[in-house]
Symmetry: C2
């Protein structure tokens, strides 16, 4: 299992193309709908990435069957699909649980593709992230204790807010982890028809929206 390293964008592109082939423009929209809250990518990032992945044989332009208009010199859409190598590579990425998958940058995307990730890996990533965040909380508190340094109210407010956000995420992770454990390694399974909701649904507590 060759410890691959890939940027967020690369993983996201591969993951999305695994679901269904797409052209760049659409990909970007889906990308930003998926990760919108965390980051946004522009075409200046996406197209070079597609080019690179194509060059490495992980994705390929689809022999397109666009129904209506294979007409003249039209700059046609380029639909990309995952190749066999691409699929393998993606699976490889998705079976890794390391720092890259729980640090701030990577976690969001990684989580987004949990549906294709093995249950044990999911758990390790969730726990990895949690302990990462707990370290942060710890360091924070240590810093607050030796409050020799006079901090103005904005600094204080920033830290308070930061701490609260982190704690919030820890609680979220706790719920997810509990829910994963409860499901006991079952495959996530949801074969397309519909999801009977209920069974393993993480986090979303019926009563409380917020804290």
């Amino acid at each position: 299992m060759t410890r691959q390293r890939a940027g967020v964008l690369e993983l996201a592109v591969l993951g999305l193309l695994h679901e269904t082939p797409m052209h760049g423009y659409e990909l970007r929209k889906r990308l930003n709908a998926l990760l919108g809250a965390f980051r946004a990518f522009g075409y200046g990032s996406l197209y070079p990435c597609l080019k690179d992945l194509t060059g490495r044989g992980l994705i390929a332009e689809e022999a397109f069957a666009e129904p209506a208009k294979p007409l003249a010199g039209r700059r046609s859409k380029i639909v990309y699909r995952l190749t066999a190598e691409g699929k393998e590579y993606l699976q490889d990425l998705l079976s890794q649980a390391g720092p890259a998958s729980w640090e701030d940058d990577g976690f969001g995307v990684r989580f987004a593709f949990f549906g294709q990730t093995r249950a044990d890996i999911r758990l390790r990533i969730l726990e990895g992230r949690r302990s990462r965040l707990e370290e942060r909380v710890e360091a924070f508190r240590a810093g607050l204790t030796r409050t020799r340094e006079r901090v103005d109210r904005y600094t204080l407010e920033l830290q308070r807010h930061g701490l609260e956000s982190v704690e919030r995420e820890v609680r979220w992770l706790n719920e997810l982890i509990a829910s994963e454990r409860q499901a006991g390694g079952e495959p996530p399974r949801q074969p397309r028809g519909h999801t009977p909701d209920g069974a393993g649904a993480p986090a979303t507590r019926p009563g409380g929206g917020s804290e």
Copy 2:
């Protein structure tokens, strides 16, 4: 007012050195205590930055008055202080309210130095950030509405959590803005009680939220 552009690190370094002179190692600790929840910098980032700022004459090595040990070949600490140019430059940076100050990357640091920022600028930055986040919420909802795309439960959960984080930060900003308005340009003073609710997610990630 020459529209300067500076990285997060640069601004943070200048801001911290404005409070008091320091050497690199200490600077890094303070840096990560300040921004710990949002990002962390290593020495590999800091020292080159200090070098660069020195080269530009914005900071300088202090003629050091280390009391006890100016002894032999000891690799002594290098204490940096802000030069006059540095102060001017910093003020210039702090008087700007543009995208760089309310995007995910910049907002945290920018807020951390609100104590040295004019009241009207503070307000514009807070409002800028809020409307940035509101755009995001909007785009999100639009995405959810056309839920043609079948999303699995993890994707959904990620988006739900992301949305909630953003909304939370908006509420936090609302309170800050109200409090700024109430103070009506008054110099900063400790807000009453302080907000029981509050967090949002300033940074880039599920717990944090960023772009």
